[in-house]
Amino acid sequence: MRAQSKHQLTSQRFFHDVLPTIIFLLPGFGLFFLFMLGPMGYSLRMSFYNWNLANPEMSTWVGFDNYIKALNDPVFRHAVLNTLIYTIITVSVQMVLGLCVAVLLNQQIRGRAFFRVSYYFPVITSWVIVSVLFEYLFNGQVGLVNYVLKDVLHITTTNLRWFIDDRLFFVPMTLLAIWKGVGWTTIIYLAGLQAIPAELYEAATVDGANGWQRFRFITLPLLRTTLVYLLIVLVIGGLNAYVSFFLITNGGNPLDRTHSILTWMYKVTFLKRDFGYGAAISYWLTLFVFLISLLQLKLLQKTADY
């Protein structure tokens, strides 16, 4: 009897708690397996083969050759360098600028809602549209930026060919990312700022702390979790840069020098049709992102202290 009631109890628990949970989770997990884990596993397999797209069964096993090939590939190395420079510039500027804007927008200023919407507007605009816009602005022959630099400010005497030079092209590319991204960091900062108890500021003011001291000793330490979150998400986003590079420099033009890691992966995969190598490049990127995220979490792991 006792055993049965116990069994009844568990089956009751199963029907009341476990089963609904499973059913609720099923669609999400189904999608996750179908569209994320499945393809990831498939491309992991591809990365160890000289992959034959039309007849996968005829692919030949090459071990880690594709991974080694990437390390010896000058274009891949250049793409990694480009991606790192792009990430460092865009992430640091977005984090600092976003914080400044958030602190300003957190004050009781006139037209606050208007400014918040204005800063957020580029975020909701599609990457494609923003890329096309910047392509026009920085057109090497008739762009607005060249007009201002050459004909209004007279800083240069000739039009700058923004997208032909593998250093100059960072200017439009990073400005685009910063302009488009800063609104989002601002919103996240604002959420973090609003979670800081007002009493702390009141107490500090009573103790005679000035504005800078309040920011340095209250705001900044209590924003730590927000900072970590932003840093990780922005770095991952930066390393995954694709759309703007693909649209603006047509993936690497000229001479494959303006690639991001992903545009080179794309070219290798879809134009050169080297699917194994393309998969290996994407796994290098995955590993890279994973390690950096781990490092960031470790370095900044400290609980908020209030």
Binding site: L19, N253, L255
Partner: protein, 443 residues
């Protein structure tokens, strides 16, 4: 109370799952293209429809992919309508992809990896041998009953682009080539009344009509890919590989090819050719239409393109100027239509191909600048008059290398050209490197 809550939880969970599954199910029904004719549209009353529908014949659907432009797609809907009217048992479901090579190539590659090819497709003549080598195309000779008749009726050049290792894997749907476009107003303003006849004249005129500081150039190319420089390359006597496709040494880096790229490099350095070809500049079509680029080299579709872009603009064509040996040349372009091995209903698909190759269908498409491949239509009064110059140019135009790895050869030449323009390597050294890269692809 607690159990009621649990039941509620379970029920809502099941509902969620059900909603999710039905959403999935409805998503798998094929999305009808705008080209697909909806028979329901003329069924005026609901009571009449069920009485008629069981009587209708069992329909087969043929899926067809293409990457035509806006005016071409609109015109193409007329072809579909005509075919469906003549074959009430076949429905054509056409899907349009963006007309740049990348998007369409992507769709093809995705289809290949997931084995979801359409029944038939229109593809660039340079792609057929690649897909034939992949083993995904159906050989049409011996399978299609009217193959012999059609292959005799078309121009041999475009037909040959379908040939791969003993079989024909497609039919030449349309053909084209590039000629010189010269902006008459710009020419006349500089006191020149005629387009250049020789490439030497061409270079002189290009420089005469350039003003680098105002971003005005005598000549502009759309990019550094081979198609863009091919007409000048071939007119200068350039060759990529030998006819038997055994080597590129002495061809892509031979004296004529070197001379062709040396000429382009000199135009670029002197500011007589727009720097837009390296990226981030004014596009050739807009630049020519607005008078910033006096000359560009492009195809027959430009007439309809300018009709919508600049309605007042008068397009003027001329043959590609002649090279050192006194002959003009250009590059053969066009599209072939192919059937995939995986096609579900091959009979209906072959019927569709035959119709696409018929004089009727070719005449309809010619109205929007698509040149027919049927030799019998060459002097057809229904064809637009400007086809004449393209027909003339086609006589000397050359095909790119019909090889499964052509797109990689194209990339090798593209990169060599970029190295030349940016001054990274002298012309000869750069083309020597390209020859080595192409030789590796020929093996």
């Amino acid at each position: 109370m607690k159990s009621q809550k649990s039941i509620l939880k379970l029920v809502s969970a099941i509902i969620t799952l059900a909603v999710f599954l039905t959403a999935c199910a409805s998503a798998t029904t094929p999305v009808a293209d705008h080209a697909t004719q909806q028979p329901a549209a003329n069924g005026s009353t609901a009571t009449e429809a069920p009485a008629q529908s069981p009587a209708s014949i069992a329909k087969v659907t043929v899926t067809y992919w293409h990457s035509m432009s806006n005016p071409e797609t609109e015109q193409f809907n007329k072809v579909i309508a005509a075919f469906e009217a003549a074959n009430p048992d076949i429905t054509i479901e056409s899907t349009r992809y963006a007309s740049d090579d990348n998007s369409f190539q992507n769709a093809m590659v995705t289809a290949m990896s997931s084995k979801t090819f359409p029944d038939a497709a229109r593809m660039d003549i340079a792609w057929v041998s690649q897909y034939a080598a992949d083993g995904v195309l159906m050989p049409l000779d011996g399978q299609m009953s009217d193959f012999n008749a059609i292959s005799k009726a078309v121009f041999p050049g475009p037909l040959s682009t379908n040939f791969y290792q003993g079989h024909y894997y497609g039919l030449p749907l349309d053909t084209n080539t590039q000629v010189l476009l010269w902006n008459k107003q710009v020419f006349q303003a500089a006191g020149i009344n005629e387009p250049p006849k020789t490439l030497t004249e061409f270079a002189d005129v290009a420089c005469k009509l350039s003003d680098k500081n105002k971003e005005i150039y005598g000549y502009a190319q759309g990019g550094t890919y081979f198609w863009a420089s091919a007409p000048i390359f071939y007119a200068m006597g350039g060759k990529i590989v030998d006819d038997k496709q055994t080597t590129a040494t002495g061809y892509i880096n031979g004296p004529q090819s070197v001379a062709a790229f040396t000429m382009l490099k000199s135009l670029y350095d002197k500011g007589c050719m727009s720097p837009n070809l390296l990226g981030g500049g004014i596009a050739t079509d807009a630049g020519h239409g607005e008078g910033k680029y006096a000359m560009i080299i492009d195809g027959p579709w430009m007439v309809d393109k300018y009709k919508s872009m600049y309605p007042d603009f008068q397009t003027n064509f001329a043959l590609i100027p002649t090279g050192p040996d006194g002959t003009t040349s250009s590059v053969v372009g066009g599209e072939d239509v192919v059937i995939f091995n995986s096609a579900k209903n091959k009979e209906a698909t072959m019927k569709w191909l035959s119709y696409l190759m018929s004089p009727d269908a070719q005449r309809i498409m010619a109205e929007v600048g698509i040149m027919p491949t049927l030799a019998g239509l060459q002097n057809d009064p229904a064809l637009p008059p400007y086809f004449g110059i393209f027909m003339e140019q086609l006589k000397t135009a050359q095909a790119r290398v019909p090889h499964p790895k052509w797109s990689q050869m194209d990339d090798a030449i593209n990169q060599a050209y970029q190295r030349i323009l940016l001054g990274e390597q002298p012309v000869q050294a750069s083309l020597d490197q390209a020859a080595e890269e192409i030789n590796a692809l020929l093996k």
